[in-house]
Symmetry: C2
Subunit: 319 residues, 2 copies
């Protein structure tokens, strides 16, 4: 059974080498060489009982803990440089599980071209991975900044992760192709840094959608002192059929599911086409789903001739 | 019962204002203005069942989570700038407990003149506080760097925290004055940044003593390719009497207790007096307890005419 020192050795051995100027992992502090711009920081904690669904491996959990930070950096238009991981492991964790975690961190290093520069290992009652990500930037896309008239855009389609979660929890069924797409969105969430960096110059405000579309839109509304009128929902392919077959509300899957790790933001009307092209160039799809209004804090959905309020629902811990 | 948003509100309301150039807490990323030097990072996780002894309040636990990082910065001679806290809270946490955590973070801000710039709130099966600390420096005191002949120094006396822990766990008794000093060292660990910064220019290697004196000395030996001969132990006042009265080994209390949050390091012989004066000026006490030898990895204790090996014992998670 590995102890703290074995865990560190196992993870460091599998990690990528850091370039010159960085301190190699193993001293008491990590060092990242100076860069232009201000320091941008994000910390996000993955906790087993809320963030690791049935069927997710330790390797996937480790990668996801980094993905959660990457998603915020992508939405803010900041290229991440490095990350650290503070890990809490159950007593009795196996060597194989530790090796899996190490592989997951390595996956993240490769996928998003970031360096693991340090961390901490602890004993806890469930798996906890707290990822701290750092980058440097002159500016970032703030939550505030939307003006009435701005287009509301999202960088992809919604509803797969909540559907995938239901499939993994065996509370819903799905045909093979949708099942695969939906469960993959849960087990291997893939925030796109390239899409985020391409979109950022056009955004007047923005954030990631990890707490769900409705929550993100409400947050941008509050921060910007605007309202939003949604005229279409960015429903994922197959989500409506899945909802119908399982007696679920497709709108709820799209609006309050969460964990999509896409960008939700606002763009000046004149910039929508250019933003769409920039995102397409990076393999993404930008959808215009509504516009900002002067009705501060009010989020409405107008589809099929009816109009209704969208509640500020989404994932809230401890609720 | 407070939810995630209440927790954030409670903590942010009590936090100090960040100066101009920093992003106020509340967006998805934290921003620290550019500084000279490379970025220095440290992450340390406090987990309730291993790091929060009986009798420690939530306020003290919050302060301690920051102290754990401050201790490393002090030993490395790097002034911390800011910190973030990623928190896991039990379902059912009370408003009072959250307010206590907030007060503890505020205590840390004031005590070490650091800014809380962000964080994350989660639900977990026990209290978890992961503190990420950042600073900027051209150089830091590394673990490696000791040469044979260098003096081995410590920035204070050892044995109070293990004694205090035993008192708090009711497995030992102590007279009022010692009891107070020992339990305070556990409940309000006080790494001294001022002592660390004053000592750092003289250190050829160094680290903090949070995993215990023996472990720290062994770590400096391995990293420097040297050995150490200890000729005296930095035994805290009253520790021997406490040990005798409770049938404990005083050497073990000093060598493998841990959580002292002092600096253990090496200094060139010619610099010892100047280092001592610099530390005294900041209210600390520098003790020379031995010297580095060419016997790589070997740590020996020579007191009272006998010589014996000191084992590489100390706190290791998951062991």
């Amino acid at each position: 059974m590995p102890d703290e020192l074995d865990v560190i050795e196992s993870i460091v051995r599998r990690a990528g080498r850091v370039p010159a100027g960085y301190a190699a992992i193993g001293d008491d502090v990590a060092v990242v060489p100076r860069r232009r711009g201000n320091l941008v920081l994000k910390v996000d904690m993955l906790v087993e009982h809320t963030d690791v669904p049935p069927g997710m491996t330790y390797r996937q959990a480790a990668r996801k803990s980094v993905a959660m930070c990457v998603s915020d950096f992508a939405a803010k238009g900041v290229k991440p440089d490095s990350f650290m991981v503070s890990i809490g492991l159950r007593k009795g964790v196996t060597e194989e599980q530790v090796a899996e975690l190490a592989s997951g961190f390595r996956d993240a290093e490769r996928e998003w071209k970031v360096h693991m520069v340090g961390g901490d290992t602890n004993e806890s009652e469930e798996l906890v991975i707290d990822c701290t990500m750092v980058g440097f930037a002159e500016r970032f896309v703030a939550r505030s900044g939307a003006s009435p008239g701005d287009a509301l855009v999202v960088s992809g389609r919604f509803g797969y992760p909540p559907a995938g979660l239901k499939v993994l929890m065996k509370s819903a069924k799905a045909a093979a192709r949708f099942r695969k797409m939906a469960t993959t969105s849960v087990l291997r969430p893939s925030p796109s840094l390239r899409v985020g960096m391409a979109l950022a110059p056009y955004l007047t405000s923005g954030m990631d959608s990890s707490d769900g579309l409705a929550r993100s839109v409400h947050t941008l509304a509050r921060a910007g002192g605007v309202g939003f009128e949604l005229v279409s929902l960015p429903t994922g392919e197959g989500v409506e059929e899945f909802a119908r077959a399982n007696g679920l509300d497709p709108e709820a899957l799209v609006l309050v599911g969460g964990e999509e790790y896409l960008v939700v933001g606002t763009v000046k009307g004149r910039d929508v086409d250019a933003a769409r092209r920039a995102v397409r160039k990076e393999g993404g799809e930008l959808l215009e789903i509504g516009k900002a209004t002067p009705k501060a804090g009010r989020v409405e959905l107008s589809v099929g001739g009816s109009r209704r309020r969208v509640k500020d629902e989404g994932w809230t811990h401890l609720r």
